[in-house]
């Protein structure tokens, strides 16, 4: 079963993305800042990370740099989902190795799904058939 780690400090956004991907049959792990994301990645070994940039505690770039430094972190696919579009941060992220960027408010849930499938393939049938757990109350 394909596992996706979603990192974003906007909980409503996090809920919506998580809900839609679970519905498609992926296992979803959530983190609200970079520090939580690093801990979750160590714990769950996700197949893909959807990463926001502007976050409290630990920002997305620091998180990405940390993940790349972990065992097996070098080849972990990462997709940026960010409202920040400045060149500087984008270049820094690409230097650290990312598999794509989706600009917030510019993409649909379908765009997210297609990019996830592109990077990790389809979720298993079993997963797809699994019951959809409810997100935590926000």
């Amino acid at each position: 079963m394909k596992s996706i780690l979603i990192v974003d400090d906007t909980r409503s956004f996090l809920d919506a993305i998580a809900l839609s991907l679970r519905h498609k049959g992926f296992v979803v792990v959530r983190a609200e800042n970079g520090a939580e994301a690093v801990a979750a990645a160590d714990r769950t070994r996700p197949d893909l990370v959807l990463l926001d940039l502007a976050m409290p505690v630990m920002d997305g770039l620091t998180c990405l740099r940390t993940l790349r430094g972990r065992p097996g972190g070098k080849d972990l696919p990462v997709l940026l989902l960010s409202a920040l579009t400045d060149r500087e941060r984008r270049d820094e992220a690409e230097r650290l190795g990312i598999q794509g960027v989706l600009v917030k408010s510019q993409f649909s849930l379908d765009d997210v799904y297609r990019n996830v499938v592109r990077l990790v393939g389809l979720p298993t049938e079993a997963a797809a058939a699994a019951p959809l757990p409810l997100p935590a109350a926000g």
């Binding site: 906007t10 409503s12 956004f13 809920d15 919506a16 993305i17 809900l19 839609s20 519905h23 970079g34 940039l53 502007a54 976050m55 409290p56 505690v57 630990m58 920002d59 997305g60 770039l61 620091t62 989902l81 409202a83 920040l84 579009t85 400045d86 600009v103 917030k104 408010s105 993409f107 649909s108 849930l109 379908d110 409810l134 997100p135 109350a137 926000g138």
Partner: protein, 787 residues
């Protein structure tokens, strides 16, 4: 002799006597003939019966005259000697012999000859006397010479100008002369009780020792030294003393003679000369001045020690002549120097010239020489003498000065700045063509204090004040002012002034520059405008970036949630309702954000509309608290309002004041998870002005100094600050607060420390009739966290 004479008188025995008589007669004959001594047989009354040649020669008679009976010894005896003869005759008759005695014979030629007589009475019937006569002329002459010599010595000793003293083996004075006594200021009696050492200067007492040893060893017969003796009055005098040793004739003991010449004056003269020469040499050395003398006939030059040094030579190491001198002269100057000196030879005129010398050590020095000719009776130049002076340093200094002067002139000519000179009292003393060129003033108008007329009237007082202060303190100054150009426009100039001190430390003049900075100022203003524009564009970029981020985030969430709702099978029932609520919240947030943006834009552009009325401050604070209360966990955070007095009022915009307090409370709430948030409003009076002071104090996390420094700058806080420094919020809330406070004529400050909470203090004017519209910006000042 006496016994021999007795024998002559004894009668001999017969046979033996006859033989003995024969022998005696023969011996007598040989004695007579030997002519070593005068021998004569005489009688008591002058008769001479026998005489040898020696005798006859002695008295000046020939043998023929003797034979003719013409010789009578009484005839040749001067009458004054006859008594001596009588006495001898009496002794003869008594003793048979007489004691040898001296007398004189008067010779035929009238001269006197001294003789020594020895007589013996011969035996016989007649009284016959055998006389032996010895010529003692030589001895007498010698004795006379000695006597005269002694007499002279006595005279010299007694009356001579030389001090003389005889001393014995123990150095005691035995005899001293008057001159010696006079030298020592003592009588001869006083000296007799002293030794040589007693009157010798203590430092010189050993001076004789080495000579005395050599004298005693026979190496010297006398010696002379100069040493000091000490007079009775204690004065030390220099003397030249010649000492010789001799033996006293009478006692045979050794004694010494000292001849003493007082040379004190000579010594003093020598010392004066030596000192004077030494001073001259020192003076020459100090002055780098040497002296020279050139004897033309011998072509011999004499140099003073310093003259040698001037040429880089050790004194006395060469024997200078004209060629040697020319060889020292720098090749480029040699011809000129030679011609000058030759000219002086010809006409006897003075020498006065500078020339270079190339010294052995490679140095080229410049000497200045003066000299003049010495002429003989016939007017011929026989010698030249003069002085030389090393003027290298002076020449170098003069050259440096010339270069400096040229450099200064070049700089003045080349500089775009005006260069001016004023006297010690600050009056312009030098015509500055550039000044006249710019201002159109004449030279007369610009000198003294006239230049002030060309200064902009608004700048004159200050300029004169600064200038006067500078004159008083003697400190350089620099100031900017406007200068009226001849076309009536004004130029911006910078004037710099520095004092010029003399060696005594007094200001003798001021020099300075005037730099036209008009073009530079224009360029700087243009550059400032460009920078402002660039900064504005950058700020706009930043705002757009942040606004983009701040709006995209809720938009992205809303879009995702609504898409989820549209996927009918994905979200149902409660889930759908929850999604809708979240989407609504995000839309409300976006609306508030857009409002804030518009509010800030209005405040910044001065187009904000104010509803200016009486504002009960306590109510505004309570309303703000109530607005924030739903957000706060009442179990964890205590909210309170205190107003003193309760009816505290100001004139202002009530909604704006509520908004102000609300924004500050919202910030406090974000930082405070537990503890308290308190609002307090009190009266405050400062500089005759009434204010209301509102404090919003929380016990929350506090704010780091890096963040407090940026508070109130819209979008600055999160414009690119992410990660650990990420601070939630756009900064719009505090930006709005700043605008409200500005309109109410107040100010804001923040005191915060991480972990200890934050207190924001706002002062609002209590009685402002209308919104302040002076465009004054309110900065949020940071105070030390005394909370």
């Amino acid at each position: 002799m006496r016994s021999a004479a007795k024998k002559l008188r004894q009668p001999p025995s017969r046979n033996a006597d006859a033989r003995s008589l024969q022998v005696g007669h023969a011996r007598f004959q040989r004695l007579m003939e030997s002519n070593m001594v005068g021998v004569a047989v005489v009688d008591a009354v002058g008769g001479v019966s026998e005489a040898n040649d020696y005798y006859l020669n002695l008295i000046g008679y020939t043998r023929a005259e003797f034979d003719a009976g013409k010789v009578c010894w009484t005839d040749v005896t001067p009458p004054e000697h006859l008594p001596a003869d009588e006495m001898a005759l009496a002794e003869l008759r008594r003793e048979g012999v007489c004691t040898p005695y001296e007398k004189e014979y008067l010779r035929r030629d009238g001269t006197l000859v001294p003789v020594l007589i020895y007589d013996a009475m011969l035996d016989g019937p007649r009284e016959q006397i055998l006389a032996f006569v010895l010529d003692i002329s030589d001895r007498k002459r010698a004795e006379e010479a000695l006597r005269q010599s002694e007499e002279r010595f006595r005279h010299i000793f007694r009356d001579g100008p030389l001090g003389m003293a005889v001393f014995d083996a123990r150095n005691r004075f035995v005899e001293v002369n008057r001159a010696f006594c006079k030298m020592l200021g003592m009588s001869d009696r006083e000296l007799m009780s002293r030794t040589v050492a007693d009157v010798t200067h203590p430092d010189d007492r050993e001076a004789d020792l080495p000579f005395v040893r050599r004298l005693l060893a026979g190496e010297l017969s006398s010696y002379s030294i100069e040493k000091r003796f000490v007079r009775k009055d204690g004065e030390a005098r220099w003397a030249r003393i010649t000492t010789s040793f001799l033996r006293a004739p009478a006692s045979g003991r050794a004694c010494g003679l000292k001849m003493v010449e007082d040379v004190t004056q000579r010594k003093q003269a020598e010392e004066r000369l030596r000192r004077s020469e030494s001073q001259l040499a020192e003076a020459q050395h100090l002055a780098h001045m040497g002296s020279w003398h050139w004897d033309l006939a011998a072509d011999a030059i004499t140099w003073s020690d310093e003259q040698y040094r001037l040429y880089g030579l050790n004194p006395g190491t060469v024997s200078p002549n004209f060629q040697l001198f020319l060889g020292l002269v720098h090749p480029d100057d040699r011809g000129r120097v030679k011609a000058l000196i030759e000219q002086s030879h010809r006409d006897g005129g003075p020498l006065d010239y500078e020339f270079r010398i190339a010294r052995g050590d490679g140095q080229v020095r410049v000497l200045y020489s003066r000299g003049h000719a010495v002429v003989d009776a016939a007017g011929r130049v026989v010698a030249m003498h003069g002085t030389s002076h090393d003027i290298t340093e002076r020449v170098q200094a003069e050259e440096a000065m010339r270069i400096s002067e040229r450099r200064y002139r070049s700089v003045v000519a080349a500089a775009t700045d005006l260069v001016w000179v004023a006297d010690g009292q600050g009056k312009m003393t030098l015509d500055v063509p550039g000044w006249r060129e710019i201002t159109g003033q004449t030279e007369a108008e610009s000198l003294g204090w006239g230049w002030v007329d060309a200064v902009h009237p608004d700048d004159r007082d200050h300029l004169v004040k600064v200038w006067s202060s500078s004159l008083a303190t003697q400190n350089p100054h620099e100031q900017e002012f406007r200068l009226r150009a001849r076309d009536g426009s004004y130029r911006h100039v910078i004037c710099r002034a520095v004092p010029v001190f003399n060696q005594g430390g007094a200001v003798i003049e001021w020099v300075g520059t005037i730099t036209d900075v008009t073009d530079r100022k224009r360029a700087e203003a243009a550059e400032r405008e460009r920078n402002d524009l660039r900064n504005a564009v950058r700020a706009l970029d930043r705002v757009l970036g942040v606004v983009g981020h701040e709006l995209r985030t809720p938009l992205a969430a809303t879009r995702a949630m609504t898409e989820l709702l549209l996927m009918q099978d994905a979200a149902q029932g409660d889930e759908a309702a929850r999604l809708l609520r979240s989407a609504h919240d995000e839309i409300v947030k976006m609306g508030a954000m857009v409002n804030d943006l518009l509010e800030v834009a209005r405040l910044n552009s001065g187009t904000a509309k104010w509803n200016w009325t009486n504002v009960p401050v306590a109510r505004a604070c309570r309303e703000a608290i109530e607005s924030v209360r739903p957000l706060v966990d009442a179990a964890q955070v205590e909210l309170s309002v205190r107003a003193d007095p309760q009816d505290l009022c100001i004139t202002g915009d009530a909604e704006a004041v509520r908004r102000l307090v609300l924004n500050l409370l919202t910030n406090a709430h974000k930082n405070t998870r537990a503890g308290s948030i308190r609002v307090a409003a009190v009266r405050h009076r400062e500089r005759d002005t009434d204010y209301v002071r509102i404090e919003i104090a929380d016990t929350g996390n506090g704010i780091s100094p890096e963040v407090t420094a940026k508070l109130g700058e819209a979008f600055v806080l999160n414009s690119g600050i992410v990660g650990d420094d990420y601070v939630k919020g756009s900064g719009l809330g505090l930006a709005i607060c700043r605008g409200i406070v500005a309109a109410h004529g107040g100010r804001m400050s923040v005191a915060s420390a991480p972990g200890r909470g934050t207190t924001v203090t706002v002062l609002l004017r209590a009685d402002l009739a209308a919104p302040a519209s002076d465009g004054r910006e309110v900065r949020i000042t940071v105070e030390s966290a005394g909370i």
